[in-house]
Amino acid sequence: MDFKLDVPEPVDTDTEEGRKFRQEVRDFLDKELTDDVIRERALNRDQPYETPPLVIEFNRKLGARGWLSPQAPGWPEEYGGVERSEVDRRILSEEMAARGIGWGSGYGGIQGAVIIRYGSEEMKREFLPRIARGEISFALGYTEPNAGTDLASLEMRAVRDGDDYIVNGQKVYSSFAHISTHHWLAVRTDPDVPKHRGISLFCVDLASPGITIRPLWTMGGDRTSEVFYDDVRVPARNLVGEENHGWGYIREALGVERIGMGGGVVGAGGSSFLNDLIEYASETKRGGKPLSEDPSVRQSLAQLAIETSIRRLFSHRTAWFMKKGNIPEVEAAMSKVWGNELDQRTAKVGLQIMGLYGQLEPGSNWVPGNGSVEQRYLFAVHLSYGGGSHELMRNLMATRGMGLPREPR
């Protein structure tokens, strides 16, 4: 075993070109990577599949320079991959890490990964370069009013009509649909076969006539959307892979997506949040003594520190497992369940430690840390069903991980 963090081999970036490029990156980041972008990325860390507004803008600028990440593992040049030198990549990584964000874990990567594997040649040429340049951003079109946890029961219909499909129906919880360029849309193309076998996946231009987007505001204060399709014509070339094979692609995308959930970017997110709490407890006095001297608070903080370490180890395990060439189904499920429930606990303990102050919202007088813990408390509610309900995740862990028999249906 070896718990050393994987550090890449040293590369000499201290060349003249290297120094010049580093300066260029720094100047760019000084200007474009605002605190708001960083915060938006952090908040969004549990939803790597959809791109929030400021990040869309930032990615577009990165993409325009060939610095965006989906192609980092190496897309062929003909699909927009830019072969940057090792020195450049190292500098980009280092500079962005120094600002607290990762490089190489950008947005659009999940859709790109499916398209590069299953998309037609035409689709690859049309979409991949634009993803690489950050010109395209996706909103997910999976969930419907009657298809959430049981996603495969979705009812929205697409019917072939010449070179197009005519799409009708409604999606819900389609976050950022109002500012994204495309919808990653799952629809039923064959209603007469078992439900998993009649689903297809499309890339739909959200500017298409007949699409109406209505806001839904969540308890977390974020906007998500309902998307209504009324006789929307979608060109058949926008079909991803084969007709009626969509469920396989979606499952694959969900699996990839889940890897990022709960753990977030390895090492980030959760632990800095905990550090903020420890700092708050150390600096805030109640009854003349710092909160951090209260034995109950100490027990709670220590417990969270342990649980945050477990999150880190679970994430690393998943990453290591993938790196060895495996598909980390059970490992990712464990990581998601653990990380997301820990997020809920951490926010709960955080508010509890803050006492009466814990109920204050952003913008209020006296609010600690501008209400970030309170916002997280509300936001975290959806983590235990979003992206795969934790009941299903646990069933999956037991059946795939320990070979328990599936529930008879």
Binding site: T143, P145, N146, G148, T149, D150, S153, V172, Y173, L216, W217, T218, M219, G220, G221, T224, R286, G287, S296, Q344, K348, L351, Q352, G355, L356, Y357, G358, Q359, L360, E361, P362, G363, S364, N365, W366, V367, G371, E374, Y377, L378, V381, H382, S384, Y385, G386, S389, E391, R409
Partner: protein, 383 residues
């Protein structure tokens, strides 16, 4: 032992539920969270006409002389409906304090007007120290020419922005123990030197910061005895804590019922959601939490009604309800999933209130520690 309400209480409960489901729809509740005042005066007028503000006050002040248990029944229904009205501040906190501590004249004056719905009151107790013990009272009142001058900040004061009078709990003397030297003042909310700012809160209730900057209060506005104000505060806190628990019971009960209903309607994997054993375990755990909160709360309320000591029961009820209501609300959110996460849904109302209710009037750790003092004190005096 009788776990049923009596006939009048059953009638009160039914009437309250019917009235609130008609007059206090959830759309109104949500609108009021955004509203500057935070309550609909028209609804408040109707509530006054029903006699609710007078329920617990003696007849000589125009009230109907109901018991604390009657009040508990009513407040539970308010919690169930998430009623946005200055009832808790005016009646439970300030009204009961006046009943506990006030002179006959003050009672005649103020309680009569409370009963008539003519005034909105609140108790200005908590401060940036954020505690409910006497040591947390640091706002000072110093005597000046027969008047008192109050200086300092009160924080988390409910409905102060719409109150006609505040009962300000201030320190008038450094006693040998924190409980000594505390005095209650009736303060006109429009007095020069008072500034009030509404805080943004998770429950969208109207808690305020109230700054006292050389606020002059005449001596006759002392409620109760000079320097002896802590005892009635403590008594009022006990009553308010039990009432808060009742509010929580009402909310938790509603979450349980709406969640159970939803599991019957919602179809997942071709079956009713409620037919899944894991969901049944959730509902069963919610039932345990709701019933346990209810019984602990009503035992304390019954003892208050009967004039029996109930410090232990009060600590138990609040320590337990603070966590149990949050557990119930969290399971409700899990059962409703995405649809319950939308701000327009009813679930967030309860999820948010469960958090607010936990921290208000002492959280679980605080009440368990108080309880531990009683338990180990009994032990050491017995041995």
């Amino acid at each position: 032992m009788d776990f049923n309400l009596n006939e009048e209480q059953e009638m009160l409960k039914t009437a309250a539920r019917d009235f609130l489901s008609k007059e206090c729809p959830k759309a109104l509740v949500k609108a009021m969270a955004q509203d500057e005042r935070g309550y609909p005066p028209e609804l408040w007028r109707k509530i006054t006409e029903l006699g609710w503000p007078g329920l617990v006050f003696p007849e000589q002040y125009g009230g109907s002389g109901g018991s604390f248990l009657d009040l508990t029944v009513l407040v539970e229904e308010m919690g169930r409906a998430c009623l946005p009205a200055p009832f808790f501040s005016t009646v439970v906190l300030a009204g009961l304090f006046i009943l506990n501590a006030g002179s006959e004249e003050q009672k005649q004056d103020l309680l009569t007007r409370v009963v008539q719905g003519e005034v909105i009151l609140t108790l200005a107790l908590t401060e940036p120290t954020a505690g409910y013990d006497a040591a947390s009272v640091e706002v000072e009142a110093v005597v000046d020419n027969g008047n008192y001058i109050i200086n300092g900040t009160k924080l988390f004061i409910p409905d102060a922005h719409i109150a006609d009078y505040l009962i300000c709990i201030a320190r008038t003397e450094k006693g040998t123990v924190p409980e000594e030297g505390i005095t209650a003042f009736l303060v006109d909310a429009k007095s020069p030197g008072i500034s009030c700012t509404v805080l943004n809160t998770i429950a969208g209730d109207k808690l305020c910061e109230v700054i006292f900057d050389n606020v002059r209060v005449p001596r006759k506005n002392i409620v109760g005895e000079l320097n002896q104000g802590w005892a009635p505060v403590a008594k009022t806190l006990q009553q308010a804590t039990v009432a808060k628990c009742a509010e929580m019971v009402g909310g938790a009960q509603q979450v349980l019922e709406m969640s159970a209903e939803y599991t019957k309607e919602r179809i997942v994997f071709g079956r009713q959601l409620g037919s899944f054993p894991v969901i049944q375990q959730y509902i069963a755990n919610m039932m345990i939490d709701v019933d346990s909160c209810r019984f602990l709360t009503y035992e304390a309320a019954w003892k208050l009604s009967e004039g029996l000591p109930c410090a232990m029961e009060t600590h138990m009820a609040k320590a337990w309800a603070s966590e149990a209501y949050q557990r119930v609300a969290a399971l409700g959110q899990q059962i409703f999933g995405g649809v319950g996460f939308i701000q327009d849904h009813d679930m967030p109302l309860y999820f948010r209130r469960a958090k607010a209710a936990e921290s208000t009037l002492g959280d679980s750790y605080y009440h368990r520690e108080q309880l531990a003092q009683l338990l180990t004190r009994a032990e050491s005096s017995a041995s």
